[in-house]
Amino acid sequence: MYHLCGHQIRRDLIEKKFSCKDLAEYFIKRAKSTNKKTGAFLHFTEQLAINQSKLIDEKIQKKLPLPPLAGIPISIKDNICISRYPLTCASKFLIDHIAPFSACCIKFLTEAGALIIGKTNLDEFAMGSSTEFSAFHSTKNPWDLSCSPGGSSGGSAASISSRACLLSLGSDTGGSIRQPASFNGILGLKPSSSKISRYGLVALAGSLDQIGPFASCAEDLALLYDAIAKPSDKDLLTLLSNHKSSHPFLKNSLKGKKIAVPWSFFESLNQDVKDNFSKMLNHLKGVGCEIYEIELHELAHSIAIYNVITSIEAFFNLAKFNGLVYGRRSKKGENLDELYSLSRGAGFGIEVKQRLILGSHLLCSQKGNHYIEKAQILRKTLASKFHQVFQQFDLIATPTTPSSAFKLKEVSEPNERYLQDLFTISANLTQSAAISIPSGFCKKGLPLGFHLIGNSSSEPLLLSFAFALEKITNSDKFIPKLFDMEIYDE
């Protein structure tokens, strides 16, 4: 059953090949077993999945129409609220926290019939790109258990590549969906801003954060995106957006689409990644796309801009985690200031502390202020450049990451870690939509990703590219050997 795609499972349910309850039990059992190897999950939401499966079975019995994600097992990154279930953001600070409400996207998923089976691991408060900064445990890459699955949504990506489930939701502030998607050989979409309500997502940097879907095949990704990209009065930005369904456009012809490639930006890229990228461009030429070289030297600014903006926005967003309003309270503080400092000192891990102290320095010292103004102006410059590019071209293509998955504990320098997001950050800074599409494997046998960035509201176009490339690469069949079998508790 694990080798089926979500839309095939839905079809089989309608044909009564199995019951939805059996399906839920199968995937919960598989998720618990695979989790012993990958550490993709932090908690399981077994009862939620079983209850939902019973409702789906009732509908099948009564021959009522099934919702679009009926019976498809999904995991949720543990910085998205599910009412009455733990919400830890992979932080010791929130170890006891139970979400008092559900995020909008959870409500939409429930209406769409998805089976939510568990909450997945992440870098603490989504700060990181390896899932090694989870306060609980590192997640391992199902393609090579000694490697990182990427991050911060590494648990979500690993839960799909190990086929513990077929869909997942993550969040992307600088590449946190696309980089792990690339490392795991699956699809990951960062929608443009205002498409998916962020109500119920624990904010890292409000002007960059997006909730987005993961899947192993393009059709499932489109179904999931369509199910959650809806207007919501809980996030006023979504009311401004034109929500166009992407599924009907999946099979559109790509003939004549213009792809811009900033080749000069890839000079120092390793040959393996460069060759893989060229191969994907050739595939696109083969389906009638036109490839053009462009200069985009503004991309070189993106990591610096991102560092400044995320640090200052995280500083504000995490101020509420003080041991008084939210989080575990220190018993040692003798006054309010001490209570805050000791609670935050004991609750936060090193990466969170580092970013908050950097944010504090940028905001509160004269030296730091210089950086903020320049970052804001450079961000505007980058957005302006992207706007110009999208007037001439349909999409911008880059590799998703500068390398394949790295070994756990291999990248210890913070600046080296930030470079992981070199190609992905610009989409967040410019509010663009972007997707990572599996593009084959490097010489070490680890997956690589092909990254496409489109203008705001270009999700249907991005998904049609994913669909076309999947037909050529057969990436929907990529399953790590270690997990391409029925797995049961030993």
Binding site: L342, L356, K385
Partner: protein, 111 residues
């Protein structure tokens, strides 16, 4: 605006980029307690990040000026955007005045 942009930080040495006093002030303002050992690591890491910021773009004044000459930016642009964003009447229908204001502010921020 251009004057502000051309003001680059000129640190004579790494030590001036992020001093121990800067670290202590930032740590206290962020309300974060940490051990001396962790404090040392954090300071070193933040120094490296600040150095990256300085090297990557913020000290390259000439490049920045070229970018801006190519893609002019002014505060007026932002104001124009803010005013235009509220013009989608359909999106605003049925919302209270307070929500409409919030929407305009949010939209200009996230634009």
């Amino acid at each position: 605006m251009l004057k502000t942009l051309s003001t680059n930080l000129d640190f004579r040495s790494m030590n001036e980029l992020f001093t121990q006093e800067d670290f202590i002030a930032a740590k206290e303002f962020a309300r974060i307690e940490c051990s001396d050992e962790m404090g040392k690591t954090l300071k070193e890491n933040i120094e490296k990040t600040l150095l990256l910021l300085s090297k990557m773009s913020f000290r390259s004044g000439d490049l920045l000026m070229d970018d801006l000459a190519e893609h002019p930016f002014s505060i007026d642009c932002l104001e124009d955007e803010k005013n235009n964003l509220g013009s989608d009447k359909t999106a605003l229908e049925g919302l209270s005045e307070l929500d409409q204001d919030k929407l305009k502010i949010n939209a200009s921020y996230f634009r």
